[in-house]
Each structure stands twice: as structure tokens, then as C-alpha cells.
């Protein structure tokens, strides 16, 4: 190099002025983001590609493509042996929808009470509620099992759904309490002047404004319930009651034959509702993350 435009310029790695070409900047920025995205998504991409490979080629390395493209895994996996994924998806949807409905109702009502009402022992009860978040779920596992067993709720969806209708998810209550507290009280007061009772204030004022928190709660309840494995494992014995994760588990057998092809194919399908739900509620969710500070 014989030419230097700036004779006095010290050795510099970065250009002194920001590039003015917005297209170039955008291309570079996007290229970097796409690279990062591919790295993060590679395991998922690998799983999708593995689901299109013949059974005995699945674990042949990190490559994505095989000359023997096949749809067999999907066809065989959907109704393989005694498994019936139409049924499992339906069951999963039923449990998930009922859990979300319960959680939204119970958590929002409880949160309203903690955020807006004053009653004796409120602080103590709220501390108690937060205290339950510190309790690991493993601790309550066995007592819960004994309780539900005595209620004769084994082989029903009740143990998976009913707790959600009693506001046991302290985290979501806390989330909503914090959100409702941030709403201006003047709105309540003006509604009260117009003759609204608690129910009206809750349903007409607070709920519409708390949509981001509601969306976040719905989304996370959906993911938790959809992916829940231990609950269904403990409480659902009959195969016609199984949810998707139980169906997926029965493709595996550490002591016999596993069918990994069908496992990957059905795993791909089981991700679809989560991705779909996320796309639909994305706007609400991002707002929720931004306004509730949830990560």
C-alpha cells in the first residue's frame, strides 16, 4: 500500500467516521444476526432434518442432508403401534386450554385483590404467597400424589387442571400484582365515582389495561402445560388419556428398541403449536416483557 489519505492518522483498525451507506450497514448487521441465529437454531434444524432421514441414518453425524429423503417417520409415527397421536394432541390441547383458562381467571382475580383491595392480613398473605415460590415442587410431589390418589383422581385430568383454578401459580399472581400496581389509581377512582363496583372496575378498567400481563401469563402457562411430563406421567396411566410428551417418551426404550425417526418427527410436530401460539401472541408477549420486566 502506497497511498494513505490521512498522512497524520495513527494506526487505526476501525473507520473513524461511521459508514454513511445504510444498505451496507444493514447487510452487515443482518449477516451477523443471521449467523448467530443459525448457530442457535442448529439443533432444531438438525432435528427437523433428522426427522426426514431413514431410521438407521439418524445419528450419522452433524450433517443435514441425506440422499434418502423420506416421509416415513411422519406417516409411521402418527399412528405407530399402539400409539395414536391424534388422540394425544387432542388430550394435550384439552389440558392446556383448561389450564390456561384457570390460570388467567384465578391469577387475575387474586392479583386484583392483592393490588387494589385492603383487608386484614394482606401483607402476611402476600408474603406467604411469595413463600410458596421458594418451595421446590419436588417437596410437594409426594403429598400431592397421596391427596389426589385419595380423591380418586388418578387417571383423570383433574390433578393437572384443577390446581390452576385455585391460583397456585404464585409467580403469575406476583407478575400481575406488579403490573396492576403500576396502573394509575385515578382510573379506579373515576370509575368508582361513576358508580362501578369492584367487579366492574376489575373487568372494565384493570383487565383491558393488563393485557400484556395476561398475554405473558397465557403464553408461559401454555408452554409449561404443553411440555409438562412429570404430571401426566404420574397421574395418567391409561394410554387413551396420554398427552403428547408421554407419547414421545414411549418411542424410547433404553432396554429394547427405540424408534428415533418417529420420535424426531413427532417432536417436530409437537413444537408447531408452541411456535404458532408464540407468533399469534408475539406482540402481547413482547409488550409484556417490556412492561413487566420479565425475562
Amino acid at each position: 500500500m502506497t497511498t494513505t489519505t490521512l498522512p497524520k492518522a495513527p494506526l487505526q483498525i476501525y473507520p473513524r467516521r461511521k459508514t454513511t451507506n445504510p444498505v451496507l450497514a444493514a447487510v452487515i448487521r443482518h449477516a451477523l444476526i443471521i449467523c448467530a441465529l443459525v448457530i442457535m437454531l442448529y439443533p432444531v434444524i438438525w432435528m427437523v432434518s433428522a426427522s426426514f432421514r431413514p431410521e438407521n441414518e439418524i445419528f450419522n453425524g452433524l450433517g443435514l442432508f441425506s440422499p434418502n429423503f423420506t416421509l416415513d417417520n411422519y406417516v409411521n409415527g402418527w399412528t405407530s403401534g399402539s400409539l395414536n397421536f391424534s388422540r394425544y394432541f387432542l388430550n394435550s390441547f384439552l389440558v392446556t386450554v383448561l389450564s390456561i383458562a384457570g390460570n388467567l381467571l384465578a391469577c387475575s382475580v387474586t392479583a386484583y385483590a392483592f393490588a387494589r383491595l385492603s383487608f386484614p392480613g394482606k401483607k402476611f398473605l402476600f408474603a406467604l404467597l411469595l413463600g410458596t415460590m421458594l418451595l421446590p415442587s419436588q417437596v410437594t410431589l409426594v403429598p400431592q400424589y397421596i391427596l389426589f390418589n385419595k380423591l380418586e383422581w388418578i387417571n383423570t385430568y383433574l390433578p393437572l387442571v384443577v390446581p390452576h383454578w385455585f391460583g397456585v401459580d404464585a409467580f403469575f399472581i406476583f407478575l400481575m400484582v406488579q403490573f396492576i400496581r403500576s396502573l394509575p389509581r385515578e382510573l379506579d377512582e373515576s370509575a368508582r365515582l361513576d358508580g362501578c363496583g369492584h367487579f366492574r372496575i376489575f373487568s372494565r378498567i384493570i383487565m383491558p389495561l393488563a393485557m400484556p400481563a395476561i398475554g405473558t401469563t397465557a403464553m408461559f402457562t401454555f408452554i409449561n402445560t404443553w411440555n409438562d411430563f412429570l404430571g401426566p406421567l404420574l397421574y395418567l396411566n391409561r394410554t387413551d388419556l396420554w398427552t403428547v410428551p408421554l407419547g414421545l417418551n414411549s418411542f424410547l426404550d433404553a432396554t429394547g428398541e427405540s424408534s428415533y425417526g418417529a420420535l424426531f418427527a413427532m417432536s417436530v410436530l409437537s413444537l408447531a403449536p408452541i411456535v404458532g401460539f408464540f407468533i399469534v401472541s408475539q406482540r402481547l408477549l413482547l409488550e409484556g416483557v417490556a412492561t413487566t420486566g420479565l425475562k
Binding site: L83, V162, S250
Partner: protein, 452 residues
């Protein structure tokens, strides 16, 4: 400590009534409960009417579930008025569920277990001894080899589960690679020094990237085989380690020598290996030999034909020693829980699953070779039996003919011994500890928890 516990099956009507959705959902479920009465006597004879409801639980994937369900259907078909609540999950998850059920004294009536975990449960008195039922004739053990039946005994010497399928560990050999290396199979009755010699010779002629053995020092199963062949005791009567530190030092020195010569895969590569036997390096044709559960031959062969088309594998017995065969048996079988309220039916089911000829043929030794010799012979006589399955069953017959050792595994074996053993050898193979240090570490860890 056996407490006569009477659990009333009262409904908590108050709570149930409070949930409006509860009623709605109960409609689609038809709920049941595993409530049961504690047996009145300590050693029930299992006699009585075979009727009513029992729960049966086992581990396995879909193919095992179908076979097990077929046998259960045969049982309910022959015994009108019996209904069976079926529960299954994959091995690890199965025990998660079982532990919750055991802790809440609600174990299913009939529980599938192995000798490796049985004493975790017998220590807590959640299983019934079957001896009374054997004496009364409710459970028949006359067609099962004694060595196999004894594997179902607890540390107190009582029979706690009736083995129906016997798994064993074998040495899996990739015959294509062995022939390429010009070593073939080890001679019949080979011992451990023959085996290491065999591996070293083979390594010299194997292609790049293929090793003669997987990292054997970290495999508890190989070690168990070595102790049995050399007449060492694995566990003493208190459930603590029964062999000496010098034994283990000698054993690890043997494997570590092979590792340093490049005869085994590297420690780094070993850490990346998938745990399922049908996805091991042996099954992918990257290792010429490895210890392999006898019944994994069929799935592992399937993987090998996909990964390295044209290659074949077989299984051979473990190396022998001065004290004979090193092939321990790992039978699986059904136990009856202490909280079972329908012992006659449970005993009849356990007996049916293990001894019925048609049931055994239908189950087709899916979880280890059928222990009932008549069932086994019937399967071997079946011309439809696949070549790999036939080999698996015949190898079992060879092993059982040599009167294999029976090991009673103390409580905590699966959770303590196996993990600690692998971890301690890993310290050696990564060069972070000397063999002496690793042996000390393993003895301290294992003896602290075993037998409790």
C-alpha cells in the same frame, strides 16, 4: 418396620365439590385410585379368588408395551372378572414414577424390577416376600434355573421378585472389523489376559479412527464380570464393597495401559458417547468391541447396518477366569407390593407371565431370555425366530449351562455404585488423578452410601 396401615378410600367430598370443573372432567376420565389395604400377614400364600382389579407397571417403549399388553389380554381372557390397570414408561422415567408411588405407599400391585434396584425397595418394606406363595404353589418356580431365581432375592435372602427374563452382559464384537484385523473371535474360554492381548493385536491393523475397544475401565459391567471370573466378592453382607482396593487398582491399571496405548477410545470421545446401547460407538462401527447387553444385539445390529453398511456384529461370553464364567445375570421380573389389596390375583398374574407357555411365546423374550426353560425351548424351536434373537437366546443357554454367579445388589447400587465408578475412572482417564487416588475416592463415595 411394617406398620399395619389401613387406608380408607373416603372421598374428600368438600374439596371435590368445590371445583365445578372437577365434575365436568371426571365425566371424561372415569377416575380410579390405587388405594389398597396392607396385607394382614407378613408372608401371604397368594391363595384365593382370582378376580377384581390389579395394577401392573413395567418399563419399556411402545414395542414392549404392545407385547406386554398382549400377555395381559391373555391373562384377563382366561380369568373372567379380572381387570388390569396398565402403567408404563421408559426405564429412567419409570423409576421416577415408581419412587413417588412407593413414597406414598401406593405402589401398583405388580411392579417390574431388577436385582439392581430391588433392595432399594426391600429396605423400605414396600414389597411382599414371595416365598409363601412359592410354598403354597400359587407361584411355580420349578422350571426356572436356581441361579436365576436366586437373582430375585433381597439382602435378607427372601424372594422378592420372580425373574421372567434374564438379561446378561456379553462382549459385542464387530466381526467384519475383527476379520479385517486378522484376529477373528477370541477362542472359547478365553481369559482377561487373552482378551487384552487380542485387543492389542487387533489395534495394530485396524483402520484409522477405529479402536479395538471402547473405554472399558469406566464400565461397571466389565468390572463385575472381572470380579466374578477371579473369585472376588463384589459386596459384603452389609452391602459395602467386598473387594479390596488392590483388586480395583490392578483392574484399572490393566485398562489404563490399554488406553494409553491407543487401544481404547480417548477419554474425550468417551464423554460424547450416547448412552443407549444401540447408539454406542460399537453400534456405529467406530469401536471393534464393547460390553453389550445380550438383548441389545438386535437393535445394535440394525444401527450398524445403517451406519456402516455391510458390517456385522455378534456377541460372545465375557472373559473367564480361575473361578469360571464372568457372566453375571441381570434378570427382570415382577414383584408384588406390600400395599396390594388383591394378592391372589397379583400372584396369579406373576405366575402366568413367567410360566405360561403361550404367554411366553407371545412376549418373545423381549426383556431378556425367558427364564422358564420350557418357554425358552419353545421359542428356540420356532422357525420364525430371527437370527440375532436366536443367537441371543442360545448364548444365554451357554451361559446358564456354566452355572453363572448370582449377585445380590445392595440398596443404593444403581444410584451410587454405577455413577461413582464411572466418575472415578473418568478422573484417571483425563489424567486428573492417579489410579491410587481414584480408587480411594471411589471407595469413600461408595461405602458411604451403599447398603442404606
Amino acid at each position: 418396620m411394617r406398620k399395619a396401615q389401613h387406608v380408607k378410600s373416603t372421598r374428600f367430598t368438600l374439596l371435590a365439590g368445590a371445583a365445578a370443573t372437577a365434575i365436568l372432567l371426571a365425566g371424561c376420565g372415569g377416575g380410579t385410585s390405587v388405594t389398597a389395604n396392607q396385607a394382614g400377614t407378613s408372608a401371604p400364600d397368594g391363595k384365593g379368588d382370582v378376580k377384581g382389579d390389579i395394577q401392573v407397571s413395567w418399563w419399556g417403549g411402545d414395542s414392549r408395551n404392545q407385547k406386554t399388553n398382549a400377555v395381559i389380554d391373555m391373562f384377563t381372557g382366561k380369568n373372567a372378572g379380572v381387570t388390569v390397570d396398565r402403567q408404563s414408561a421408559d426405564f429412567a422415567k419409570y423409576f421416577d414414577k415408581l419412587n413417588v408411588q412407593a413414597a406414598s405407599k401406593n405402589l401398583p400391585c405388580v411392579v417390574q424390577l431388577q436385582g439392581r434396584q430391588i433392595n432399594d425397595y426391600t429396605k423400605r418394606n414396600v414389597l411382599l416376600p414371595l416365598d409363601g406363595m412359592v410354598d403354597s404353589g400359587a407361584i411355580d418356580i420349578s422350571d426356572i434355573p436356581k441361579a436365576v431365581v436366586d437373582a430375585g432375592r433381597g439382602t435378607d435372602g427372601k424372594l422378592y421378585f420372580l425373574p421372567y427374563g434374564a438379561a446378561y452382559d456379553a462382549v459385542g464384537v464387530n466381526t467384519t472389523l475383527a476379520d479385517q484385523a486378522g484376529v477373528g473371535l477370541p477362542a472359547d474360554g478365553y481369559n482377561w489376559s487373552d482378551f487384552t492381548q487380542y485387543l492389542t493385536t487387533a489395534q495394530a491393523k485396524l483402520p484409522e479412527g477405529v479402536t479395538a475397544a471402547n473405554i472399558g475401565g469406566g464400565r461397571p459391567n466389565y468390572f463385575i464380570g472381572w470380579t466374578q471370573a477371579n473369585g472376588k466378592t463384589l459386596f459384603d453382607k452389609d452391602g459395602k464393597l467386598g473387594f479390596s482396593k488392590d483388586d480395583l487398582k490392578q483392574y484399572w491399571a490393566m485398562w489404563d495401559d490399554l488406553r494409553q496405548k491407543g487401544v481404547t477410545i480417548s477419554a474425550q470421545k468417551s464423554a460424547e458417547e450416547p448412552t443407549a446401547p444401540d447408539q454406542s460407538y460399537l453400534a456405529h462401527g467406530e469401536s471393534m468391541t464393547d460390553t453389550l447387553p445380550g438383548n441389545a444385539l438386535t437393535p445394535a445390529t440394525k444401527t450398524l447396518t445403517g451406519a456402516k453398511p455391510g458390517q456385522e456384529m455378534t456377541t460372545i461370553p465375557f472373559p473367564s477366569g480361575p473361578k469360571g464364567s464372568g457372566n453375571a445375570l441381570y434378570p427382570s421380573g415382577f414383584a408384588i407390593s406390600a400395599n396390594c389389596n388383591n394378592i391372589p390375583t397379583a400372584a396369579a398374574f406373576v405366575n402366568f407371565f413367567t410360566n405360561d407357555l403361550e404367554a411366553g411365546k407371545s412376549f418373545a423374550s423381549d426383556n431378556g431370555a425367558a427364564t422358564n426353560t420350557k418357554v425358552l425351548d419353545a421359542q428356540l424351536a420356532d422357525p420364525a425366530l430371527s437370527a440375532t434373537k436366536k443367537h441371543e437366546l442360545e448364548l444365554y443357554k451357554q451361559i446358564i449351562a456354566k452355572n453363572p454367579p448370582t449377585i445380590v445388589f445392595p440398596a443404593g447400587y444403581q444410584s451410587v455404585f454405577e455413577d461413582s465408578f464411572k466418575r472415578a475412572y473418568q478422573e484417571v482417564s483425563y489424567g486428573r488423578m492417579s489410579i491410587d487416588q481414584a480408587v480411594d475416592k471411589f471407595f469413600t463415595e461408595a461405602n458411604a452410601k451403599l447398603g442404606q
